[in-house]
């Protein structure tokens, strides 16, 4: 979706175990849900 919008130079961080030890951990593990940092640039 970011590329489709026009963003370039897209980078993604290593995953964060955002939901580890939280009440939502079970659901997060089920679908391998992790947090990530994304960065991109608008050309120009």
């Amino acid at each position: 979706m970011m590329k489709e919008t026009g963003f370039v130079d897209i980078r993604v961080s290593a995953p964060y175990d955002t939901f580890g030890e939280a009440r939502g951990e079970k659901s997060a593990r089920r679908f391998e849900v992790y947090g990530y940092t994304f960065i991109a640039r608008k050309p120009g």
Binding site: T5, T18, S27, Y34, G35, R41, G44
Partner: protein
């Protein structure tokens, strides 16, 4: 894009998100399915010296999912939009990084979060940050105003991602950067779960 092509009804989802995050604003130490506050900031690798200097009220309702500053710290003087600023935690980090010559505008749709973020900005004596009411898909920000747009755990709660990214693009100046935290799943989520509104916010 019409609602018929979306997995969930955007209005219904927005009301559920409001309910969930109103609770985070008013009851930050309650039982939520995600971490909040200082333990979460520590887990996500925020600069503990900066977070440690912030009052509890400015940190307790933080409910992000990653660290928008992890791949690039903001530069002095930059103009920043925080899309879905909640109680203002990331806006305050941004205000610290851009300094007095920079400016941060947080946008949030919840009165409770706006009141909390404005009170906290006043408490910390921050003159370079302000908070405006609005939704991510239609922010009260002029075209190409921002050097940087940050966001944290909000885009995944927008039913229409295409519209959301289009709005982030609109407020960014050419050459500006989008840096945000969000979640992604490694295993496919079945259609029945995607259309279950409870799973978007639970």
């Amino acid at each position: 894009m019409t609602t018929e092509t979306l997995a969930v009804n955007p209005s219904v989802l927005r009301e559920e998100v409001k309910k969930k995050y109103r609770d985070v604003a008013c009851n930050p130490h309650g039982e939520h399915h995600f971490h909040t506050g200082r333990p979460l900031a520590r887990r996500l690798g925020y600069d503990q010296a900066v977070v440690g200097a912030m009052p509890d009220a400015a940190v307790e309702s933080f409910a992000g999912v990653a660290n928008p500053f992890a791949l690039r710290a903001l530069s002095r003087g930059e103009k920043v939009v925080d899309a879905g600023s909640g109680a203002g935690f990331d806006s305050f980090i941004a205000a610290h990084q851009v300094g007095g010559e920079g400016r941060v505008v947080g946008v949030d749709m919840l009165d409770e979060m706006l009141e909390k973020s404005r009170n906290n900005a006043k408490l910390m004596g921050l003159g370079n940050v302000e908070f405006r009411e609005g939704v991510l898909e239609e922010m009260p920000i002029e075209d190409r105003w921002a050097d940087v747009v940050i966001s944290n755990g909000v885009i995944n709660l927008c039913a229409d991602k295409k519209r959301a990214f289009g709005e982030l693009w609109r407020v960014l100046r050419p050459g500006g950067r989008l840096q945000f935290g969000d979640i992604a799943n490694g295993k496919p989520v079945p259609e029945s779960a995607i259309s279950n509104i409870d799973l978007w916010t639970a």
